[in-house]
């Protein structure tokens, strides 16, 4: 990797100032994507501003049917939180299947969603559960946050501080992993919420999206059979050596049905 200037931050404001001051500065959360990218010399930042020292960004609060996860909370903490497991078991389960144990020990929710890998799990979690992303500047609905492949609504230097999840009536996440990378070839989160059914899909397309036809079908009949014969449209789905667009489209249907079934 190319060398850079390493900067620690004592607060969110300090981090924001340091990232703004750098010529081409980047923020580092858990580093689980940034460091492999730098190792491959695919990026050459002037400065890396480490959010790891900001304790206020870490932690989980559950109150009044809302789970708030600090941006620097690692996946392992979410996966093993009894409070999360009680409030939104699907969220704990999703976090427990991200990457591998060592990734879960270091990787953070803020880092994951800011990176917005098209095959990452958390974007499906946020969109499927109708979460809200809180930053140092504003609040952004998950539906508006993930804007494209590795792209989000975050402005330059804007820092995610937490994510707020409303507890659904029922939810489940089903992932069909890429056999090599273990990222999602297709991951589907289905949630039945007070505001309606949400079906969020990751891995299949260039960015997480909602399967509105499936949502509509489930509104009237929240059971796997409501999705019988339904697949995603293969148009615009990802195609690579591991899976064709048609296979991904098919898997969206399978994973959605299994997620509905798992909602009980």
């Amino acid at each position: 990797m190319h060398d850079f200037t390493y900067r620690t931050a004592s607060s969110v404001a300090d981090a924001a100032a340091k990232v703004a001051a750098g010529e081409d500065a980047v923020l580092m959360a858990g580093g689980m994507t940034l460091l492999p990218t730098l190792k491959q010399r695919l990026a050459q930042p002037s400065d890396v501003v480490d959010l790891g020292g900001i304790d206020s960004l870490r932690g989980i609060q559950v109150s009044g049917g809302t789970v708030t996860v600090g941006a620097m909370t690692v996946h392992d903490a979410v996966a093993n939180s009894s409070e999360v497991a009680a409030a939104i078991p699907a969220l704990a389960a999703l976090a427990g299947h991200i990457g591998d144990p060592q990734v879960r020990n270091r990787g953070t929710i803020g880092g994951s969603i800011s990176n917005n890998d098209p095959a990452a799990d958390y974007p499906a979690g946020l969109v499927g559960l109708g979460a809200t992303v809180c930053t140092d500047r504003r609040e952004i609905a998950a539906d508006d946050f993930f804007t494209g492949m590795f792209e989000t609504a975050l402005a330059d230097g804007e820092i995610v501080t937490s994510v707020r999840f409303p507890a659904p009536e029922a939810a489940a996440y089903m992932k069909f992993p890429n056999p090599a990378s273990r990222y999602a070839i297709v991951g589907v989160l289905v949630a039945r919420t007070a505001g309606g059914v949400r079906v969020a899909v990751t891995g299949a397309a260039s960015c997480v999206y909602r399967e509105t036809a499936m949502e509509a079908a489930l509104e009237g009949n929240f059971s796997p059979s409501a999705l019988d014969g339904m697949t995603a449209s293969a148009d615009d789905l990802n195609e690579d050596i591991h899976a064709s667009a048609e296979y991904r489209a098919h898997l969206v249907g399978v994973m959605a049905r299994r997620a509905v079934a798992a909602c009980g």
Binding site: M1, H2, D3, F4, T5, Y6, T8, G31, M32, L35, P36, L38, K39, Q40, V48, D50, G52, D76, G99, D100, P101, Q102, V103, N105, R106, S181, R182
Partner: protein, 159 residues
Amino acid sequence: MPTVKMNVNGEAVSGEVEARTLLVQFLREQLRLTGTHVGCDTSQCGACVVHVNGVSAKSCTMLAVQCEGADVTTIEGVADGDTLHPMQEAFRDNHGLQCGFCTPGMIMSALDLAGRNSAPSETEVREWLEGNICRCTGYHNIVKSIMAGARAMAAGQGG
């Protein structure tokens, strides 16, 4: 160049590093703790697993400077002098290693699991090892080793 200070295997150490120096490079090249290995460049193989502040982490995917003030344990710090840790004993007793290259990472990963789950099932062990690749053993005896090691630790045999 930045100076980094940390505790490695119970000893305070410090060194001058570049910002880009990975923890594994600091351990191997500056501290000459070469038991921690590098087997890939995509953070997947787990040969580099160490403990940072008590939990397992891939030392190829951390900067040395991120470990300022941290407690780091490597495979060299697991045994108590000449007395092997029960997890190390279990790997030897169950032929849980062949070429030995992935073994330090396997043992460090296994110790994290055993700390959370004193009697992991075969399925739990296999799932836990998602981040550790072995090309020699076919995992059969690694899984046996970890189950036995966790049991031995729970039984208080020095764990």
